[in-house]
Symmetry: C2
Subunit: 489 residues, 2 copies
């Protein structure tokens, strides 16, 4: 395998020409950043997308209107080819009703206590509760893919802090008829918030079936976030076929903390009500723009983000930013008069959030059309200051990429880590239709500290994106595409 | 000089003990970050400071009340010593009146045109103008140190884009009786926004005297910011003694763009009115907390930020964050049971913004008391994700610090650059009272992309600070203090 990777790199470079190449690379990369920072288009286009079309849940009318906009927007730049690639997508719909109410005589008292001792600022929560007087309607929303409640579901509350506790309580019959709150918080010690997310997201994805196995009536899931705030964060969940399908809601982190603090109230009753549903699949599209390669027109370097989003917020960081990174990277190279050696493809994949149907369709079609991909880069970690790349390659390939450190360090790019690239590019390499199991795949890594403040929540709006941070990300992606295009065979 | 630096480092370390030291350093640094991320106090204390006391302009009642809070807050942690160090500070006061009005028949038309062609989103500006109907009151504020207008000052507008243009127009007599707009924007190509600031800030600091020399009546200065928005950014300005003192205002970047677009209107008249003034100096204080060193109690490592702020916003990033970095670094080391070799001093310097009187007093007192400082670290670049350090040392010292790269890279700390440390620590090394011209000085470098969105503006409030970013900064400072304390003699 190592050899397969290695042959994609031009290795027979003399020391002298190597130095010369680094010098001209360095100058061209400087031009990329200059153009992005002085004349970047990504921020303005992201604003049009977020403010003109809002969220883009797969199968929604919003999403399809935004696809049309994206095609027209890309065509306006005169790229060699712009196309919409059809794919069928699932269609889950949030209902009009989403209620989580709590009746607990202790709540008022405990709220006071909770706010006095909490390390973070949660006073806003108390204020909001007060406004609701006796009824205690708490901020919560359906998880994507959940069934509705068909009326309402009530039960006592059972809080589990981790999977071991779930098993213990479940086996003791203590979850039967309960509404289970999955309350394992992010491990704040992780420097990358994505690592913390990875350790907790089982609660959201599998929580309903894990609890249904022990007779629970519904589940509440602590939002996947580092913040203590009032925003429920939605996201995909799946049911295991053999188990009852029970409703699943996300609750804001501060609500999870509060519920945990009153869980010992014997009179506490939780009631949830929601009318979300799954409709038949619907036609949607990947959006593709490409610039034809001069040397290897039939070898592709693909890069992009996903165009769908959850229906909270505007899908600005997740993943409008990744799409605009990719569009802008292609624009930057074109604006600088760069003639690519390989065919460069900017792809806005559809349906990453709840099915990755666009990614699978793309890989299928690539195989069918004989589009040999030598590399693919995904951007799906937000529009924050870029820090580096996650690299899905053998050690030899990673070592080669690390020789570019000095070219990218002036722009604050220092992290080159072995790791996954992303679910939208993965099928090209690891899926059943892969034409190139040894292709190079990378994921752009922006700074992750703020990402989960916005992820899948109403806070993920255009205003949460910083212009310079977004444009630096696009330039970094363009610089990496350029280096790969120059280096790979 | 090189030798002077080198002797502060323990150089006679065998390879074996070096490895062992790195391993134990690595474990202790991990504990520092864990404590900061799990139990950090900086964010909560910053909230108390910002929301309880607001801005802290030198000589204001606000600032003195906040000093009292800071002393009590630090005492509550049981540090060996907490003290308030008296210093006299200047006292400039913003008045109740701050008006910039523009009369221009072309403005409406040009605004429309301007918004159509601007690369950034400035629609909000047009809306605000409309609300003001015919009078066109634009967002502007006095620069710190400016004289008032003693009634109002009117004149035609003269826009200068750079210093050369100022000289040309001035020598041609074209600035006489005018109100001059200094309109040189940040160089967006600079990756560090501080470099862009450095290239433009002469307009704010020296603009009034530069223009007064050619007979201008007043100056408007484009805000020192990367954003195109409606917030004027204040900041310090100085007059040259031999020239007339004319009023100076900051205007929001979008206002500067707009004014430049209507500058050719022959009927355009600018009127400004403000009643700011300078009062007699007033007693204020540096706030100091220290933990006594076990090996070298009379050798000091000082670290801190400045406690004063401008009177717009809450001084959250500038520089509440730096003060909380320093407090938290001392707390972290104490909470982990660390016994320092040198005496560690956390300092909240007063009056950095318009005089640095606190910094000079601190250096004076240190010399008087024979407090020999081996190192000092300043944090005055905001509470964003930390990226590295600026190092004021000889090359040998910088090379030694770079050997710690592998210890700090896991936390995203990659930048170790030769450069200035900051104006609050500088007098200790470079001032007339320096006891140690070869001491090591460093400045914490956080990510700079968002800094000038908030700097000296009403947007610099607690909500603009991210908890994890702030706590990572504090941990990074603590890790560096630990490494210096372990390494220096």
């Amino acid at each position: 395998m190592k050899k397969n990777i290695a042959i994609f790199f031009i290795t027979a470079v003399s020391a002298v020409s190597g130095v010369r190449a680094q010098r001209s690379d360095s100058l061209f990369i400087r031009r990329i950043y200059d153009e992005a920072l002085l004349n970047g288009h990504a921020y303005k286009r992201l604003e049009e997308l977020c403010k003109g079309y809002g969220s883009r849940l797969s199968g929604s009318d919003h999403a399809e209107r935004a696809v049309t906009w994206a095609g027209n927007m890309l065509r306006s730049y005169g790229f060699d080819t712009v196309m919409l690639q059809p794919c069928m997508v699932p269609r889950w719909q949030r209902g009009k009703t989403e209620l989580l109410s709590v009746s607990s005589p202790l709540l008022n008292k405990r709220l006071k206590q909770f706010n006095d001792t909490a390390g973070w600022a949660c006073e806003a929560l108390e204020e909001r509760y007060k406004k609701q007087a006796a009824s205690y309607l708490l901020p919560a929303c359906a998880l994507g893919g959940s069934v509705g409640t068909n009326g309402s579901v009530s039960g006592s509350l059972c809080v589990v802090q981790n999977q071991a506790e779930l098993e213990t309580l479940g086996k003791a019959g203590r979850l039967k008829g309960c509404i289970v709150l999955f309350n394992e918080p992010f491990d704040e010690k992780k420097i990358s918030t994505f690592s913390a997310y990875g350790g907790c997201v089982y609660q959201r994805v599998n929580g309903a079936s894990l609890a249904a196995r022990y007779g629970a009536r519904a589940v509440l899931v602590r939002s996947m976030s580092n913040s203590c705030d009032l925003h429920p964060h939605t996201g995909v969940m799946h049911y295991v076929d053999s188990l009852p399908q029970i409703p699943a809601m996300a609750v804001a982190t501060s609500v999870a903390n509060t519920l945990a603090a009153v869980a010992d109230d014997p009179k506490l009753v939780i009631t949830i009500s929601m009318d979300c549903q799954t409709l038949p699949d619907r036609l949607s599209h990947n959006v593709i723009a490409e610039e034809r390669g001069a040397t290897f027109p039939n070898r592709y370097i693909a890069f992009g983000g996903h165009f769908d989003s959850w229906d909270q917020g505007e899908g600005a960081h997740d993943d409008g930013a990744g799409c605009m990174h990719a569009f802008e990277a292609l624009r930057l190279l074109k604006a600088l008069g760069y003639t690519p050696r390989h065919t460069l493809r900017c792809v806005f994949w559809m349906n990453e959030e709840n099915g990755a149907r666009g990614a699978h369709t793309y890989a299928e079609q690539a195989a069918k059309n004989g589009e040999f991909h030598v590399a693919a880069i995904e951007s799906d970690r937000g529009g924050f200051t870029p820090r580096g790349f996650s690299i899905d390659a053998e050690d030899a390939g990673i070592a080669q990429i690390k020789t570019w450190t000095s070219l990218l360090a002036p722009y604050g790019i220092h992290q080159f880590e072995k790791g996954g690239a992303g679910v939208d590019v993965a099928p090209l390499k690891h899926g059943p239709n892969s034409m190139n199991k040894s292709m190079l795949q990378m994921g752009l890594i922006p700074d992750s500290q703020r990402y989960f403040d916005y992820h899948h929540a109403e806070t993920d709006v255009f205003e949460s994106v910083n212009r310079r941070e977004l444009h630096l990300g696009a330039a970094t992606l363009a610089a990496m595409i350029y280096l790969l295009d120059q280096t790979l065979e």
